[in-house]
């Protein structure tokens, strides 16, 4: 039985917490249309991973630093430049990737295999990665449930939230840093390139079924659990990369559900 292997058990625990991260923060990312930024942060963090290799430390630490730095720069840019901020994001995205390659190249000796960072490998998740995911998902649950009503208002209408005396800037800083942390937590599961998909596809699938925020978060979490588990299980069965299979399943589920919804509507009209 595959579930008796320790690395499989770890992968299953990772699935549980990755689902929560996708459900809670992914929903907010898709609602606030921070998709481009999320993808940019994920790619730019490659610079940190390269730096980690060069310095001989755990690459996830500098990656987290880079991701945090990028979101804070983006927050400033959005406030100052608004419409041009995505150009800056594009540059940081490429710069991070480029620096990563340079750092790896600078390291003497045979270049390390970077595929597990680019495409993820849920089977190689270490205990430290797992602990990070647990802290992040429990942290998100606490931060976003403790003041859920206030969060909704800040995200819906900043100007009104300010008038009501809420510290909008603080909320925004927490939200932006959450994106950085969520991205880093997801890199080991599906990799830099596919992080965006795991944060956005389950929430988009959930959006087909409900127009309310909390049910959408819960449903997105469930969809994320199902798709990560299925993808991981299938990748194990037919021996293909797990990150790619997880994303394939999650996008497939979205299109099946969207198609089903469409059919339902067409049939309802015919009746």
């Amino acid at each position: 039985m595959i579930f008796s292997y320790q690395f499989v058990q770890r992968a299953l625990i990772a699935t549980l917490f990755a689902g929560i991260i996708s459900g809670v923060l992914g929903t907010l990312i898709t609602e606030k249309k921070k998709i481009m930024m999320t993808s940019g942060v994920a790619h730019a963090s490659f610079g940190g991973i390269g730096l980690g290799y060069l310095l001989g430390i755990d690459p996830m630490l500098p990656a987290l630093g880079v991701a945090g730095l990028v979101v804070m720069v983006m927050k400033q840019m959005e406030e100052k430049l608004s419409s041009h901020s995505d150009t800056v994001m594009g540059m940081l995205w490429a710069l991070g990737m480029a620096l990563g390659m340079i750092f790896v190249g600078l390291r003497p000796g045979y270049p390390p295999d970077m595929t597990s960072y680019l495409f993820g490998d849920i089977l190689t998740i270490s205990e430290r990665d797992l602990l990070f995911m647990v802290i992040v998902s429990v942290g998100f649950l606490m931060i976003y449930s403790f003041r859920f009503e206030q969060w909704k208002i800040v995200l819906f209408d900043e100007e009104h939230a300010k008038l009501q005396g809420l510290m909008v800037d603080r909320y925004k800083t927490v939200f932006y840093l959450s994106i950085a942390v969520a991205v880093i937590a997801m890199i080991k599961v599906v990799g830099i390139i596919l992080t965006l998909a795991i944060l956005t596809t389950p929430p988009m699938t959930a959006k087909l079924f409900t127009k309310r925020l909390l049910p959408r978060m819960i449903l997105a979490t469930i969809f994320a659990w199902i798709t990560i588990f299925l993808g991981f299980f299938l990748s194990f069965l037919i021996d293909v990369p797990s990150g790619a299979m997880i994303i394939f399943v999650s996008v497939l589920v979205y299109f099946l559900m969207a198609g089903g919804k469409k059919m339902e509507k067409v049939l309802a009209i015919r009746k």
Binding site: K32, E149, Q150, K152, I153, E159, H160, T210, R212, L213
Partner: protein, 250 residues
């Protein structure tokens, strides 16, 4: 009694000067209409009063103890965000930020307002399901939750027809004659019917007591003779002298 005064106000957005040397005042119970072409600085002026936008020179004085209520244009927030009508209205409560959520009595207050503005049927609906007019009424209810003494209303270009708008202003004044209202409008009809004084804003501002504007005063603000301010694509209807100019062209 004077409750709001703006004196010699200059406002910049970035490097661009939006308003220059704007002065006016508002007395308790009065309705002030703000008119002017798109991009003339009407919304900026209102947002300066709410302190959403900082100003560079001048004075914005609000009598101590007055409570501001603000009804924004739609464009300033995300209409697709998954939030219900009731949640939006409750967020206007004065207790909202201080307590975990709201205080006792807020729920029934919100219900009363929804009843008054015919929103009870859609209380549980997400805001994205509503029509333009309904959304506008939700925002008015939200502003009224805080029991304002000064209500600032920044109107979207096309939402409710002018009779409904007129009706809402009257309804508000009937319920509370002491309520002061600042109404940004794109519609001269509303302005003429309900206001006590008019402020024409186009970079500079001209204050007119009374609700009659002569055509040359309007000409000064809009840069051409006009009769009626319409919604949508055509910001105003032009009179014949403007047309003649067009004909002169080869």
């Amino acid at each position: 009694m004077k409750i709001l005064e703006v004196r010699n106000l200059d406002v910049y957005r970035g490097d661009k000067k939006i308003l220059e040397d704007v002065s006016f005042s508002l007395n308790r119970g009065e309705v002030l209409g703000i008119l002017g072409p798109n991009g003339g600085g009407k919304s900026t002026l209102v947002q300066t009063i709410t302190r959403a936008i900082p100003f560079n020179k001048g004075v914005v004085w609000i009598h101590k103890g007055e409570r501001l209520g603000y009804v924004p244009q739609f464009a300033t927030f995300d209409l697709q965000f998954p939030i219900t009508v009731e949640e939006v209205i409750l967020s206007g409560s004065a207790h909202f930020s201080k307590r975990k959520r709201i205080a006792a009595g807020d729920d029934s207050k919100a219900k009363d307002l929804m009843k008054q503005f015919q929103l009870l049927d859609v209380a549980d609906h997400p805001i994205s399901d509503l029509s333009g007019g309904q959304t506008q009424r939700v925002l008015i209810c939200r502003a009224l939750m805080g029991e304002p003494t000064i209500l600032l209303m920044d109107e979207p270009t096309a939402s409710i027809d002018f009779q409904t708008k007129d009706q809402i202003i009257r309804q508000l004044k009937d319920k509370d004659p002491e309520l002061s209202i600042v109404l940004v409008s794109h519609d001269l009809n509303v302005i003429n019917q309900t206001v006590d004084s008019i402020l024409c804003v186009n970079f500079h501002a001209d204050f007119h007591a009374g609700n009659r504007l002569e055509s040359d005063q309007l000409k000064k603000v809009y840069g051409c003779p006009i009769e009626v301010v319409l919604h949508g694509e055509i910001p105003h209807r032009i009179l014949d002298s403007h047309l003649k100019k067009e004909e002169d062209k080869p």
